[in-house]
């Protein structure tokens, strides 16, 4: 880089980035945005050119482990007569669902392996073990959330329409109970995700159009019925007199997956320092500005290899938002380079251990359940 693009690094004060306030965010010059874009593009191209057999083998192995765990989990739940094997079965099935949803489904559906031309790991074909059908997910997540990340009013993942996470969202009395909604959303997360495209919040301002939602609802019922059939009818019925035991085991496995998946996902964008953006400031955004928004709107989790795999490498949420179609297990090697680029431009690279980050999410949900900002009564 030439010296012209060297940013004048100034210390980011705690206050400036606190709770993602829209004001006081560090801005770059036009040249800096261009430099940022070039550096991120180059990093992406470098990894993209290096993709090969090892990446496909990695995903095949992950899929194998997931399937062995699912078979083992369902078998243990079915044949267990004491709590220990039963709980082992629940754990195995839960981990299998987590892997299917996060390291496999989420990443495959982003098209991270489309280049491999294997129909079994192509985004066009992949369906996952959760209530939300793949088509709906690709519309709401891949398109809406990844394009409009953290733009209040456009990114419906920002608070999932039930959580208020910044001053820009007006406080209403209903928000007082948002900690309860948060807990419910975590427990029933797969159904929350499945219902996301319904946009039920539009019932309030009466812009909800049932006719328009019909194709989506059809998909929702079709997929939801299959999940209910599998976990709560078919496998329990196979166990005959132990119907309720298997049903309980499956429900516990789903609960485990729901709690873990929601925690990881909330840590991606709702942490203390993940910033929010207004529609106005994102108008006519350049690619460099888009990178900037992805960077500041996301936060990472530091931890072990196991944490990364079990989170579908969403622990590298920043890298994922910068490069959503690069196979996620490559984010680990991209991370230090992204951090270096951030340091160069004086931008925050938001990371921390899981419990710390999750703690700030809880704090933020609690804080914004009360009136803040201009609505704060003096």
């Amino acid at each position: 880089m030439t010296t012209a693009t060297q940013p004048n690094v100034e210390q980011l004060t705690e206050e400036k980035v606190q709770f993602g306030g829209l004001n006081g965010r560090r801005r770059l010059t036009k040249e800096q945005y261009e430099g940022l874009q070039q550096e991120f593009d180059a990093l992406r191209d470098e990894i993209r050119a290096d993709l090969g057999q090892a990446d496909v083998d990695y995903m095949k192995n992950i899929i194998r482990i997931q399937r062995y765990l699912e078979v083992a989990g369902r078998t243990l739940i079915h044949f267990s007569f004491t709590p220990v094997p039963f709980m082992l079965g629940v754990a195995a099935l839960s981990v299998s669902k987590i892997m299917d949803n996060m390291e496999i489904g989420h990443n495959v559906m982003h098209g991270q392996f489309d280049w491999a031309n294997d129909p079994k790991m192509h985004s066009k074909n992949f369906e996952w073990d959760t209530a939300c059908d793949a088509g709906s997910w690709k519309r709401t997540h891949n398109f809406e959330h990844h394009t409009f990340t953290n733009i209040i009013g456009k990114d419906r993942d920002y608070g999932y329409a039930v959580l208020r996470l910044s001053d820009e969202t007006p406080w209403t009395p209903m928000r007082s109970f948002q900690t309860v909604y948060f807990a419910l959303l975590s427990i029933f997360f797969q159904w929350g995700v499945a219902l996301h495209e319904l946009e039920s919040e539009r019932l309030w301002d009466r812009s909800f159009d049932l006719e328009e939602k019909k194709p989506y609802l059809k998909g929702l019922f079709r997929k939801g019925a299959k999940q209910v059939f599998k976990d709560y009818i078919f496998f329990p019925a196979l166990a005959g007199p132990f119907f309720w035991k298997v049903m309980l085991g499956n429900a516990m496995a789903n609960l485990g997956r729901n709690l873990w998946a929601s925690a990881i996902i909330f840590c991606g964008h709702f942490t203390e320092q993940a910033q929010a953006f207004s529609e106005e400031e994102c108008e006519n955004e350049t690619k460099g500005e888009w990178y900037y928004r992805q960077l500041l709107g996301s936060s990472n989790l530091s931890g072990s290899k196991l944490l990364h795999v079990m989170s579908g490498h969403l622990s590298y949420q920043i890298e994922h938002h910068l490069f959503p179609d690069i196979p996620a297990h490559r984010y680990e090697e991209m991370g230090p380079k992204v951090e270096e680029i951030c340091a160069k431009y004086g931008l925050q690279y938001n990371t921390g251990p899981f419990w710390h980050q999750y703690g700030t999410v809880l704090k933020r949900v609690w804080k914004y359940s009360f009136p803040t900002g201009s609505q704060k009564r003096s």
Partner: protein
């Protein structure tokens, strides 16, 4: 593959599979598990192991394959699709079987003989990396470039370069079968060194009275730049071949070569209906002068505009997309996609599509109007 109303039972089975395994075919769920236990195991495909790799010429090799027991066999002259992983990219190519069906009956092996295509991603990789012990997926054999069951009249063969492979399978079969009918071969290659199976053909011509093989090199060996006076194929060659009064002529080679050969045959008064061709690859796309067309890949929110459209598959890949694709010649339907609007032309048949929404194979479709497609 083609639309057919499934029975209630099939629909129930599909529904249960998709509930339990998140895929309509249960085999897909178990596929990687089986592959992990033994690469020859598969619930979906036929696998074959590479038993041996032989050099034929400087740029051509033969791979000896042993397919799994339930592979269905073949008739001399047929081809198979081979799917292999080229640096992680699943790639399918079509190759004729060069061995005789007798060999398969005896020891369960077949051979393919493949020339390295200059800059060819797949053939280049095969030449460098596909070694003994590797496992590939193969399709059932198909193709009409075969001898009729009750063949009783002389046959003629015209081959150029690696076009000899399906013909070699037929010659080997006939040779093992004591040459049931007279057969005459015209075989063209750049230099003497480039004749694949050259010595085997010569030996066969000496041993079997009812077979003649004429190997014609276009260039002198010592100096490949020096062109011999005659063109690669000319009227005299055709005359000599027609003297044996072949009832069928089998023609295999590059597209321009086949066009010249057919023209010469027609000029010599031979009925082209008696010519069977084996055509690999797509014919060159005819560009029709006209306004530029816009192709919208709707699901990816990508658009591309050009006045020289190629196949939609090439255009999608050129735009940085990665739709699934297989044979790239309109056979396997892997690349089938929904065209939501616009008209396309089939580059093989020249047939124009409707302008309605319909499924098309993007590898053999080129846009003739603005097209929107669900990729």
């Amino acid at each position: 593959m083609h639309s057919q109303t499934p029975s209630l039972l099939q629909r129930a089975q599909t529904w249960i599979n998709s509930s339990l395994f998140n895929t309509n075919r249960a085999g897909e769920y178990f596929e990687y598990l089986l592959e992990g236990v033994d690469p020859m195991w598969s619930a979906l495909e036929c696998k074959a192991r590479i038993m041996e790799v032989r050099d034929e010429t400087a740029d051509t090799k033969t791979w000896v394959l042993q397919p799994v027991k339930n592979w269905g066999g073949f008739v001399a002259g047929q081809h198979i699709h081979i799917t292999l992983s080229v640096n992680g990219v699943q790639s399918t190519r079509t190759f004729t079987i060069s061995s005789s069906p007798y060999q398969w009956q005896q020891d369960g092996t077949i051979t393919i003989t493949v020339k390295r295509v200059p800059n060819g991603r797949v053939t280049g990789w095969m030449h460098d990396n596909l070694k003994t012990g590797a496992v590939v997926s193969i399709s059932q054999a198909q193709g009409e470039f075969v001898l009729d069951k009750d063949v009783d009249a002389p046959v003629g063969y015209i081959a150029a370069g690696s076009g000899i492979t399906p013909i070699m399978s037929q010659l080997r079969w006939m040779s093992a079968n004591n040459m049931p009918v007279p057969a005459n071969l015209l075989y063209f290659a750049n230099t003497q060194k480039d004749f694949i199976f050259g010595s085997e053909i010569k030996a066969l011509a000496q041993a079997a009275r009812r077979f003649t093989g004429n190997l014609i090199a276009s260039y002198d060996d010592s100096d490949s730049k020096h062109k011999l006076p005659q063109s690669p194929i000319c009227a005299e060659h055709i005359q000599a071949l027609l003297e044996s009064k072949p009832e069928q002529i089998y023609l295999c080679g590059p597209h321009p070569f086949r066009e010249i050969a057919k023209q010469l045959l027609a000029e010599a008064g031979y009925n082209l209906k008696q010519v069977r061709e084996e055509a690999f690859g797509l014919p060159p796309i005819k560009v029709e002068a006209g306004a530029p067309v816009k192709v919208s890949f709707a699901a990816s929110a990508v658009e591309t505009t050009t006045d020289q459209p190629g196949t939609l598959l090439d255009m999608a890949e050129g735009a940085g997309l990665t739709p699934t694709a297989g044979c790239r010649m309109g056979i396997c339907y892997t690349c089938k996609c929904k065209k939501t609007s616009g008209q396309v032309r089939n580059v093989i048949t020249g047939e124009l599509s409707s302008t309605e929404a319909e499924d098309i194979r993007i590898c053999v479709s080129t846009p003739v109007s603005n097209v929107e497609i669900d990729i």
